[in-house]
């Protein structure tokens, strides 16, 4: 608890510092008398702690007293079902087949990731892992890349948006999306993965995702035209998808 106490003290101190200019000058502490030898002899005034409301200008303060709860990790069963639902409504084995595709080592089997995802093993008395660790995040990435790549392959082909699973929008042909076009499409994905509109997200989120998209396209631009893998459009939207499916807000609730 010591670290948090120290941090809170730090926060409080800085917070007080920010508002210091508005506070009235405090009553100065009397200078203690000293004897010939230099030792302090006068009585040290006793400081009585004041309540916040006694500080001039702070008579009426709204206090955020609502109890707070720490975010929870989405249970692995709900996470797996969400993967199935968000990426096409297939069963686990059907989705596994689709993700493995015809090669490329994009995906192994669900069994290979269960331990890293924290699935309990009741027979072996291995409990559910309700905290993240680096290996779990590595599993989120491995799975997320496979899911997003397959979604890009299917959705970014020419088909009506209503038939698309993840990228439920059209993309302009032969050019990159404008900022405004990206924003509307970003909102569709934000609702899909996080369950709320992008307008309610932190303001820096949209520009970050947009930059991610632009940078991925720019990396492709430096490669030969016939380089293997996704083209600029597909790569950039795959990368955006990776960011959503690996985001803390996706895995916490």
């Amino acid at each position: 608890m010591a670290r948090r106490a120290a941090a809170l003290a730090l926060v409080t101190a800085l917070g007080c510092t920010q508002g210091a200019a508005d506070e009235p000058t405090p009553t100065p502490t009397p200078t203690p008398s000293q004897d010939a030898g230099g030792a302090v002899t006068a009585d040290v005034p006793v400081l009585r702690p004041r309540t916040v409301q006694e500080i001039p200008g702070h008579e009426s303060i709204a206090q955020d007293t609502a109890p707070k709860e720490a975010p929870r990790l989405v249970p692995v069963e709900a996470l797996m079902r969400s993967y199935m639902t968000l990426f096409g409504g297939l069963s686990p084995l059907q989705l596994q087949t689709r993700l493995r595709g015809s090669g490329g080592n994009l995906f192994d089997t669900w069994n290979d990731y269960l331990s890293a995802l924290g699935v309990p093993d009741y027979a072996a008395d291995i409990p559910r892992n309700e905290q993240t660790n680096a290996l779990m995040l590595a599993a989120f990435e491995r799975i997320g890349v496979a899911l997003c790549d397959r979604a890009v392959e299917s959705d970014l082909a020419a088909m009506p948006p209503t038939q698309k699973v993840v990228f439920r929008f059209d993309l302009p042909a032969n050019r990159a999306v404008t900022d405004a076009e990206f924003a509307t499409r970003f909102d569709v994905l934000h609702r899909l993965f996080f369950g709320y509109p992008a307008s309610l997200a932190p303001p820096e989120r949209l520009p970050r995702f947009r930059q991610l998209l632009r940078d991925a396209a720019a990396r492709r631009a430096t490669q030969p035209a016939n380089a293997p893998g996704f083209n600029a459009t597909r790569a950039s939207w795959a990368v955006v998808c990776y960011a959503f499916v690996r985001h803390p807000e996706f895995h916490l609730y």
Partner: protein, 639 residues
């Protein structure tokens, strides 16, 4: 709640088939995240965009939405997980249910035409020939081989003479190949559904095909005694009462001595015994494996636990969508379905909003085909051992076979039926095989009940254990700290054998038995299996485990269930378990008001979990979860 959207967003959503209503107010981020939390907890997944759009509509009724989802498989799974995480009701291969009376092994021999044929047999099968009694039905002279109990084969198979072949073996159509195995001429051969992801009835390939590995097996060859179908058989006396001197050649050059006539058999030479009890199988040469060999488990080799059925190793999302299907050892069939019984029982209890106390007190259960087979024909195979010394040969079951649906066949893996009443000895999960196997000792069983249903721990920190002759752990220095409570609780399981489910009825095994009183310095040898010499006195012996409380011993697991569910801590513990699970953290002193409210909701709701969950979802603690500093979010901004 009514909302507005940017024009571009609206167009995109409509092109994707999602049509929100245009309205005035914008919900907060917390509202959206709360809805997401509800979806994760009640639907077992994140909400779809369509569901979010519905949430945004002005006519959306969140309370009704929640109520509609306080039912169904995902909701039940959510609550079931609370108790499965606590009790972990699965067992691995360390609990080997390899009971000789039910295990069929097979030996490859040569038929009269010199073809290799697998012949099934049971190691414990009684036969009226000393050469083959409780052994393979063909001698080395007849088949060229002899079979050791450890699965090794000695010799080389030679064609069996036709008359011997017909006398010793018979062909039949067994339950693992034919759904209609009870018919005179079974014809509905099992064909696993290759297109189904769900757990199906699927014997391993070696059981389905001939030794060539390709030709589908139409019928199997089995030793004739095993093919007998009668439900009872007469006690068989071989006349053997002692083993021959070491070194004496054994009949038929067999490896082990043939079995001796037991004291019970000699005392009851004309009695009929049940062929579903292990004791019956061990005493009668007329007890076979029943119609279609339904009382016995097939195995594709001579091994101790041969491969038998294909089952999943991993199914975190349930048996409808397993992640794999692998050939498993024979004993896994029972273990797998035992665990599924507990899962279905809990799902039924929570999904149908039954009284949560029935987790412990309920006499109902859910069974499918394999479980029906187990309870009707196999559960008694572990009875009765030395119980015959107390004239206990017909098991009194925790689940009365007569209550088991008779029409379900083992192939009905996906047909689940509720049995309303297992019988007077049943008590929720406490008398299910999975619980009794997982928690093999009386104390382990009592401990998990104490922990999972009263939310208490036995903690004896820094207690000195000094050597002592005192057998009573409730008074022994150091041990008493925990055992004062643990022993009386453990006593409730006195009448259920440890590491098993054999029930010891009071009329055969009185808790205080004068016949097992101390004579001289100890009790009689036959009493020692069931009565504890350390607690015997000159007037009576005491059933093992009963010293903590004779009354509890007689009350049995059902008595424990009544006692625990009557304690105020039970409902508090239910409330705490639910709260911890939904809040995703351990509770602290600051949560006492929440627990009180939830406990009240549970009691006022007649112990229905739905009332508790409803109260929990409406509690501030649940709504405030994932509170990422909401006051700092930008409100209502448009892109």
């Amino acid at each position: 709640m009514r909302y507005r959207y940017a024009a571009g967003v609206l167009a995109l959503m409509m092109s994707a088939g999602v049509a929100p209503q245009v309205a005035d107010a914008v919900p907060t981020r917390e509202a959206y995240r709360f809805f997401r939390s509800l979806s994760i907890d009640l639907q077992g997944r994140m909400p779809t965009p369509e569901e979010v759009a519905a949430f945004e509509r002005p006519d959306f009724n969140l309370d009704a939405w929640i109520d509609q989802r306080l039912t169904g498989p995902r909701y039940a799974e959510r609550l079931r997980r609370i108790y499965m995480d606590r009790m972990r009701l699965e067992v691995g291969s360390n609990f080997g249910f390899v009971s000789n009376p039910i295990v069929l092994r097979r030996v490859r021999v040569r038929d009269p035409n010199n073809n290799l044929v697998d012949v099934y047999y049971r190691r414990s099968q009684r036969r009226n020939r000393a050469e083959t009694d409780a052994d393979f039905c063909l001698t080395q002279a007849e088949s060229g081989i002899r079979v050791a109990n450890n699965g090794t084969i000695d010799g080389t198979a030679t064609p069996v003479a036709a008359d011997v072949w017909g006398a010793r073996t018979v062909a039949l159509r067994p339950w693992w190949l034919y759904r209609d195995y009870r018919n005179t001429n079974p014809s509905q051969r099992v064909a696993p559904n290759a297109n189904s992801d769900a757990v199906e009835f699927e014997p391993v390939a070696a059981l389905m095909n001939e030794p060539d590995g390709r030709t589908p097996t139409v019928s199997v060859r089995v030793c004739r005694e095993e093919a007998q179908t009668a439900p009872t058989g007469r006690v068989y006396l071989s006349g053997r009462t002692t083993n021959p001197p070491r070194g004496t050649p054994l009949p038929g050059n067999r490896f082990n001595n043939p079995p001796l006539d037991s004291a019970y058999a000699r005392a009851h030479p004309t009695d009929m015994v049940s062929c579903t009890a292990g004791t019956g199988v061990s005493m009668s040469d007329q007890c076979g494996c029943g119609p279609g060999l339904e009382r016995c488990m097939p195995g594709a080799s001579l091994g101790n636990d041969p491969p038998a059925f294909v089952l999943p190793n991993n199914m975190p999302l349930g048996p409808d969508v397993p992640l794999d299907n692998v050939a498993q050892a024979q004993s896994e069939w029972a273990r797998f379905w035992w665990s599924q019984e507990a899962v279905r029982f809990l799902d039924d209890l929570f999904g149908n909003d039954r009284d949560v106390r029935e987790v412990l007190t309920g006499r109902q259960t859910m069974v499918n085909g394999p479980l029906s087979q187990f309870y009707r024909t196999m559960a008694g195979s572990t009875c009765c051992g030395n119980g015959t010394n107390f004239d206990y040969v017909e098991p009194v079951s925790l689940f009365e076979p007569a209550q088991v649906p008779a029409d379900l066949v083992p192939q009905d893996t996906n047909t689940w039926r509720r049995v309303a009443d297992r019988g007077p000895n049943a008590a929720g999960v406490l008398t299910m095989p999975i619980f009794l196997a997982k928690y093999g000792t009386r104390r382990a069983r009592a401990h998990i009940v104490y922990q999972a249903f009263l939310c208490r721990e036995f903690v004896a920190e820094n207690v000195e254990l000094t050597p002592s002759e005192e057998p009573n752990l409730m008074v022994r220095s150091g041990c008493a700290t925990c055992h004062t409570t643990l022993e009386p609780l453990s006593s409730y399981f006195t009448r259920v054998t440890e590491s098993g489910w054999t029930f010891l009825p009071a009329q055969r095994f009185p808790a205080e038995n004068t016949a097992c009183a101390r004579r001289g310095t100890s009790i009689s040898g036959i009493c020692g299996s069931f009565y504890d010499p350390q607690f015997a006195n000159s007037t009576r012996g005491l059933l093992r485990g009963a010293y903590g409380s004779v009354a509890n011993a007689d009350a049995g697991p059902a008595g424990l269930a009544r006692a625990v569910t009557a304690m105020p801590e039970f409902s508090q513990c239910v409330a705490s378990n639910f709260a911890e699970s939904f809040l995703g953290r351990a509770l602290g002193p600051e949560d006492s008001a929440l627990v009180t409210d939830l406990t009240t909701a549970l009691r006022n709701g007649n112990y229905r979990s739905r009332a508790l969950v409803r109260a929990l979802l409406r509690a501030d603690a649940y709504r405030n979860a994932n509170n990422l500093g909401s006051d700092t979010w930008r409100q209502g901004a448009m892109p």
